[in-house]
Every structure is written in C-alpha cells, then in structure tokens.
C-alpha cells in the first residue's frame, strides 16, 4: 500500500525521516523517536507528562477515600448541647455526655473552693487556678470532660459513693491519677488537668457546652 513517498521540503528536517519508517516495522526502536544526539527525548517528556497526570489523578481520588473516614456531618452536628443544672446541689456532680464523651458538671462546696484556692499554683504539674478553669461569678460550677488525660479512662468521683482520690476531686482507677477539687492533676501519670470544654451559661440554670 504505502510505498516510499517523497515529502515536500524533507531536506530541511532530516531527523524526522518519515520516509525511513518501514511500513512493516514491528518494533519501532526508540532511536527513531529521538532528536539525534540530544539529551532529552520527546518520549521522555511524554512519559513524565503521563505519569504526572496519572499521579495527580490518583491523589485526587485518594482524597475522598481518606476523608470519608473522618467525622461525618451528623457527628459534627452534635457539637453543642444544653444542660439544665438547676437540680445539682453543692457537693453534687452529674455525669453527662457531649460528643459521645463523658462530661462532669460539679457544684463545688465553699470548702472545696477554698481547698482548690489554697494550693500553690507554681507547684502544679499543669499550673492553673480554679478561676481560670471556671467562669467569673460562677466559681462553684466546675465543668470538665470526664476523660483522664493519661489514656482516656473515665475517672471516678462524680457519682455519689465513688472514690474521689487523695485530693478530694477525681481518681482514675486505670493507672492511679489523682485530681483535686479543681480537677487538676496532682498525683499519678496523667500529664494535664481534666480538660475544660468550651461552654457558656445561657441563664443561671442552663449551660451550653460546645
């Protein structure tokens, strides 16, 4: 079918050598695709362009495959909850739940507040005053996550009858961390005080956590 055909102006670009490609050529050798004697071949460019394009595509596909694992919209929608705290007497605490984590809401007695304020803050592992861990004018309301900062167990001490530890606050039974009446770490392996979540008083008796 296609015999050797004379191309117009073929003399100008000998490297192209279209007439040299045999119709039968089963394996077009790489050399025929090159600009002779140059370092970078046209094919190198095509390779890099193809692989880069495929790589960007693969990364784009990987994103939804990974992000589907993170918290979904309905989980994030539980981000804030409101509690009525009117029924909690001084010295009592309740355990409730926020983002599927336990929350301790504790109404401190004057003695407990005094005990917390007497401590030399400088001597603490995680120095914080009780005032820094409560809202102004509401120092008796200590609201913390019930998640030990060591490895995540729920400390005892919120429900009546539970062990409160050596410092009268909370005691984590898993690895023996003792928290004081401001829920600060005093003894044991936990590195930090019980975490105080973001919260606000909507009224004197309703608190919104998150």
């Amino acid at each position: 079918m296609s015999t050797v055909k004379k191309t117009n102006g073929a003399g100008k670009k000998p490297a192209k050598a279209a007439s040299k490609v045999k119709p039968a050529a089963p394996v077009v050798s790489a050399a025929q695709d090159t600009t002779e004697g140059e370092g970078v071949r046209r094919r190198d460019f095509i390779h890099i362009a193809t692989v880069s394009f495929a790589g960007v595509g693969a990364a784009a596909v990987a994103m939804p495959l990974v992000s589907q694992m993170s918290a979904s919209a309905d989980v994030l929608a539980q981000a804030s909850v409101e509690f009525d705290i009117a029924a909690i007497e001084p010295g009592q605490a309740i355990k409730t739940s926020w983002r599927k984590q336990p929350v301790f809401i504790r109404n401190l007695t004057p003695a407990e507040i005094e005990a917390a304020n007497k401590v030399d803050v400088g001597s603490l592992r995680d120095p914080q005053t009780l005032a820094e861990r409560t809202k102004p004018g509401k120092e008796n309301w200590l609201i913390t996550l019930g998640v030990c900062t060591h490895l995540g167990c729920v400390p005892l001490g919120a429900a009546s009858g539970e062990v409160k530890g050596e410092f009268g606050g909370y005691f984590c039974p898993c690895h023996g961390s003792h928290y004081d009446t401001a829920a600060r770490i005093r003894k044991g392996p936990a590195p930090l005080n019980l975490n105080v979540p973001e919260y606000a008083f909507l009224s004197d008796t309703v608190v919104k956590i998150g």
Partner: protein
C-alpha cells in the same frame, strides 16, 4: 509458559536479584503484563476491555470497602445508613454514586469483552478454558450485582430479592424449601439482608481469584487477535509493555472520562427512582424491573407465558413458571457449550461471511430487542417481541451456529498476522 522469544526478566541491582531468587513476584508481573508477554501486534481497541473490566473490579472493591465502613445491614437501618452516606459522610455521595455506576460500567465493559470474544471466536481451541472461566466470572458478577442491589433496602431492592429468590421456588418438589433456605425465612427479611451483605462483600474476592485463573489460562496460548490466525513467529508479536500498556492506558483514559461524566452529571440515569422509597413488604411497586444489565434475561423469563404439556389432555409437563426460569438460566449456561457448538476452525468473524451476517443481523438485534422488552411492562406486544427474540437467541447458538459452521465457506485467511498487517507475504513464507 510463553513464546520462546519472550524477553526474559533480568533483575537489575542487588535487591532485585535478592528478591527474584526468593519470591519472583516482579518476574511474574513482568511475564504477565510486562515486556515478557509477547502479544499479537494487530490487536484493535476491542482488546482493551479485559483490562478495563479488571479496573472496574478494582473500583468496585475500593469504593465498596469504604462504603461498608458506613453501611448498616439491618432492615431498620440499611435504608437510613445509605441516606446517611449520601448526606453526612464526607464525599459519601461520590463514593456511593461511583459504586452504583461502577457496577453498570463493569457490566458495559464486560458485555463488550464478551461480544469481542463472540465475534472473533476467542472461545475456540486452544482458548476454551479462558472462555469457561470467563462465563463463570460473568455468573459470579451477576450474583454479586444482584445482592448489592438488595443492600439499600429500598422498594426495588426488596422486590428484586423477592422475585429473584422466587426463581428457585419454580423448581419442582424442593423449590419452596430451597427458597426458604436461601432467604432464611418466608420473605426477604433481616436474615436475608445480613447474608446478602456478607456474600456481597465476599464474592468480589472470589471473582478476583477466578480472574487470576482466567489470565493464567490466557497466558498458556497467548492472546487471540482480530485475524484469528495463530502467532507464527517473533515478527507477529510485540511486547505487552510498552505497546499494550500504552494502548490500554489510552482506552482507560476514555473509560474513566465516561465513567466520571455519568457519576457526576447523571448518577441516577441507570437507576430506578423507586429504590429511593424504603422497602415496604406489603406493597409492590407498579412496575418492577431489574437493573439494565439484567433486562435481556428478564425478558426471556417473561417470554414464557404458556404451560408446556400434552395438547388436549390437560397434562402439564413443564409449567410456564419453570420454563421461564429454566430458559433464563439456560440462556447463560449454554454459553458454556459454545466452544463445541461452533465447530468452524476459522476463529475470526472477519473471514466468516455467513457467521458475520447472523452475528450482526441476528444475535445483536435479538439482544437489543430483549433488553428493550425486558424494561417494558408485560403487555402482549412486548411479550410477543420477547418471544421472537428469545427464540432467535436460542436458535442462534443451538441450531444456526452448528449448521453455519458446517456449510459456510470461509474467506481466505492471511498466511500470518504480519502479512495481514503489512499486506506483504513473509520473506520466509514467500
């Protein structure tokens, strides 16, 4: 096994050599889809579809595994968990739509792959085993797709499960007990949904295993080609890599463009709105149809409306229900016998003038008609059309092909693949 001129894997560097002596996995890949697999030089784009089907399976497995992280197989929670995936899970809508349409695209490429085999005679000796494994994969795919469609527990899911398991009740004597065994109850319920989820998760890996056998069997004789002429020498082949990795890569690009176009812009085009209604065991949708890829078989099922018996005696030998079910399964099972029904030694349809006419003007139109009628309500005109098309379908394989193979005078075959490509006789053969 391969052609003697196949390039040999030569590990470069100490680590490659160390691995090659202990677990020659890179060598296996090199010989399977690398430069070590010599492939006929004249393959056209129809030979892309095996690789595309493999990619489609990978897409289904990857999206399916992540969907299973959010799906909840319970009659009370399944529908809501799918809606939860669509609305709440990050990129969940994309993953589900990709899985949903991925099934359709899997069937599209597999159907083209099967038609490639039917037209070019890829099922003939020495490739019968590849064909048998391929039909097995097709059956497994159908089972997997059906069970997957049940999982969202919408109206179509529920009634699809009811109807398909109903097939088994057509079997004489053991039918109804068998159906109850499969469902774990008298109607699709929690037990059925749970086992369908379990099996829907398992079967793709079974399919992957049979695909390994399919590809292994392929590598014994090597790939077929559009002329159907066997490879005669080194000049007839090129290495799979880079020649067909590049060609398959191009085809893959086109496939993915079409796939994402449908997934993003018309994700429900191939689905049924009724499946967005939660399953209601007390109310069947007005018009229930399976997914498009089952329509031809559904049409065959519906085509049998009269009991088969001895005329004027009232003795029924095979009731219509059983006939329909047998015909539907038979339409696929007969493909297992195809290598022995078509006895022509010429493989490619290109060189078989009579076969080609029946293929293009008989088989393909009959399947188009069956697909169309399968989606229509069971009114007389559609049933009659289905009956004609179904009759042709069976006749094509069971009567026409064996006769055509005998009486047909094939066109002259080229002496070799190279000669067919270049139009010149081989130097050695000249």
């Amino acid at each position: 096994m391969s052609f003697p001129w196949a390039q040999e894997y030569k590990p470069q560097g100490t680590v490659s050599k160390w691995v090659d002596e202990r677990l020659p996995l890179p060598r296996l890949v090199y010989n399977a889809v690398g430069a070590g697999y010599p492939v006929p030089r004249n393959l056209n784009y129809f030979w892309n579809f095996g690789v595309l089907a493999g990619v489609a399976l990978v897409i289904q497995i990857v999206t399916g595994i992540v969907l299973a992280m959010h799906y909840y197989a319970s009659v009370d929670g399944a529908f809501n968990s799918v809606e939860h995936i669509m609305r709440d899970v990050n990129a969940g809508w994309f993953l589900r739509y990709a899985h949903m349409n991925g099934a359709s695209f899997f069937f599209i490429v597999v159907y083209i792959h099967i038609f490639r085999g039917l037209f070019y005679g890829s099922y003939k000796a020495p490739r019968e085993m590849i064909w048998l494994l391929g039909v097995t994969i097709f059956l497994l795919m159908m089972a997997t797709a059906f069970m997957g469609y049940v999982l969202p527990w919408g109206q179509m899911s529920f009634w699809g499960a009811q109807v398909i398991t109903g097939f088994f009740s057509a079997i004489p004597l053991v039918g109804e007990p068998l159906r109850q065994l499969l469902l774990g109850g008298f109607a699709p319920d929690q037990a059925a949904l749970n086992r369908f989820f379990s099996l829907h998760y398992l079967m793709p890996f079974v399919i992957a295993g049979v695909i390994i056998l399919h590809v292994w069997a392929l590598h014994i004789p090597g790939s077929s080609n559009p002329t159907g002429v066997s490879v005669k020498g080194e000049q007839d082949t090129v290495p799979f890599h880079p020649y067909y990795t590049a060609k398959d890569g191009f085809g893959l690009g086109i496939f993915l463009i079409l796939f994402v176009a449908v997934t993003f812009f018309a994700p429900n085009m191939l689905g049924h709105p009724d499946n967005y209604i939660p399953a209601n065991p007390l109310s069947t949708p007005a018009h229930i149809v399976p997914e498009w890829y089952f329509l031809p078989f559904y049409a065959i099922l519906k085509a049998f409306t009269v009991d088969f018996g001895i005329p004027f005696t009232g003795i029924i030998i095979i009731p219509a229900k059983l006939m329909g079910v047998l015909a539907m399964f038979g339409s696929i099972l007969l493909l297992f016998f195809l290598p022995w029904l078509d006895t022509s030694p010429v493989r490619s349809g290109h060189y078989r003038p009579l076969f080609r006419k029946f293929f293009w003007y008989g088989l393909i139109p009959s399947l188009v008609v069956l697909t169309y009628c399968g989606g229509k309500p069971p009114y007389t005109q559609w049933v009659v059309l289905s009956q004609i098309a179904a009759a042709y379908y069976f006749a094509h394989f069971l009567i026409i092909l064996p006769i055509v193979s005998r009486i047909e005078r094939p066109l002259a075959l080229p002496n070799s693949i190279t000669e067919a490509v270049t139009g010149k006789p081989l130097p050695a053969a000249a």
